[in-house]
Symmetry: C2
Subunit: 332 residues, 2 copies
Amino acid sequence: MKAVVHAEKTGLEGLTYREIEEMEPGAGEVRIKLKTAGLNHRDLFVLSRHQPTDPPLIIGSDGAGIIDAVGEGVTNVQVGDQVIINPGLGWKENSDAPPSGFEILGLPFHGTFAEKVVVPAENAFKKPEYLTWEEAGVLSLGALTAYRALFTRGKLKAGMKVLIPGIGSGVATLLLQFAKAAGAIVYVTSRSKEKCATALKLGADKAFDSNEDWNQALDGEKMDLVIECVGAATFNKSLEQLRPGGTIVTFGASAGDNVQINLRSFFYGQLNLLGSTMGSGEEYTEMLQFIETHQIRPVLDNMYPLDQFAKAFERMEKADQLGKIGFVIETL
Amino acid sequence: MKAVVHAEKTGLEGLTYREIEEMEPGAGEVRIKLKTAGLNHRDLFVLSRHQPTDPPLIIGSDGAGIIDAVGEGVTNVQVGDQVIINPGLGWKENSDAPPSGFEILGLPFHGTFAEKVVVPAENAFKKPEYLTWEEAGVLSLGALTAYRALFTRGKLKAGMKVLIPGIGSGVATLLLQFAKAAGAIVYVTSRSKEKCATALKLGADKAFDSNEDWNQALDGEKMDLVIECVGAATFNKSLEQLRPGGTIVTFGASAGDNVQINLRSFFYGQLNLLGSTMGSGEEYTEMLQFIETHQIRPVLDNMYPLDQFAKAFERMEKADQLGKIGFVIETL
């Protein structure tokens, strides 16, 4: 089968589209013939950290397709089922942190940028019928991350004021859609006028330029919750927008890892900084119910054929996208 | 009456012991003839921030004594009652942050380093009978802060592993006593061998030198909860000791305000950083019940007559104390 693999060099230059041997599902596993797959910042991160291996690693975390083989003892799905993949491996029940051994599909196990992928059967979920294959293929990692960050960690309730800096990324648009569906008042920022305009169409109550003075842009209104997936570039501005007792959830740092915090302001403000990443199988199930109830569709940016993976990565590296970038693997 | 007031200069040099006019309690207020008072880091902080006023400010937050006058409409206490003062003004019900207008006794309202003090009647609580006047006088601010930090914020449960860096201060010894009474496993650090030894006597399960390698000293054991009241000097070491999903509560920064955090490690660890300061009247009531149930007595360092206030401040500035420093105002 054909796949995008990480071989020979670290970084993007180490990626190639090539023939690779198909795998067989073991006990408790299923093989999925992929229709679509989704690109995440994590894939970029994997490329910078992973030492190329031989045989090479198939990267990619998000995908959707049809079961084409099942291993021994699999009962939850059968050949022919239309499924969507939860890329979190080994984190079933909700807990304050993943158990040891938790991994995300695409490192160290072969991922979804391929014609077929083998995953534990418990990671294959019935594809929500109202979603197109494109939408299903790009949903999982971002939607699970957004769900845990907003609800499990941020304890979002209707009427709360939420700020989402950097609205362009796939996960950020999902945060906006989820928060609005839950009845929150949602403010977003972006350096792009176009992205601000699209965010307003998606329901944002206010969208302003990330380079503006945030206090002015928010007119002194303070936030119950800030979901921070940008990192150092916006972190301290985000922190400043919290009301006393407010919460900032952080799960991304594509714009810098290291931040400085003034402890005295932090504790006088009774603030909360909560780290989050991905989520459990239980949260994945809740997330699917939530999006089905509210008929939420991920915003699609561009879809590429798998052999044009380089264009997709380039678009993400430049942060040009609004919404999810994905791959069409099998003609739909 | 005699009082320690902050006049003319900022800082310690601005403090004098002098005659000052006695106040009358207004409606809903009581006047307390003080037996004892307690010194806190906050008093040092007030001296560095407060612009001296005329008439000068009586500083001090902690105290205990006997009601000697009550204003109109006061029903919860009467003249002659033995009381202990909750120094938190205007924060009655438990909430995630104090309401606006919240103040701590001793700035901007006259405090307890005086023969008498006027406070809202709701801040006067029946003195726990098993406590001596010395113990009652030094208890409140530290015990309330420790209670909120450990229980409301840190959600301490029996069996949890707790680390308390910098065990010398009054509030740190209370943290240790409270956490042990609640059934936690408690580790502490100090730069002083003597303080480590005393902490072990107070029930600490392990006490080690703050300058040691903490990972080695803890033998790789990771913490559910760290209560951080030192600040920059220990903050990052504290953060490193958390288990995945663990919590660090911060309420003090006497050793530096500004810290650097690596966001990626923080969110991969699903960590929690929670700011805390003081507590509500509700928490004060719970704290009094808790110490009575467990017969907890604050560790007394030195008690001074009020006119020797300079010695007390000096001792605190040098961090020589183990436990609470206080004042005996009326011969007991």
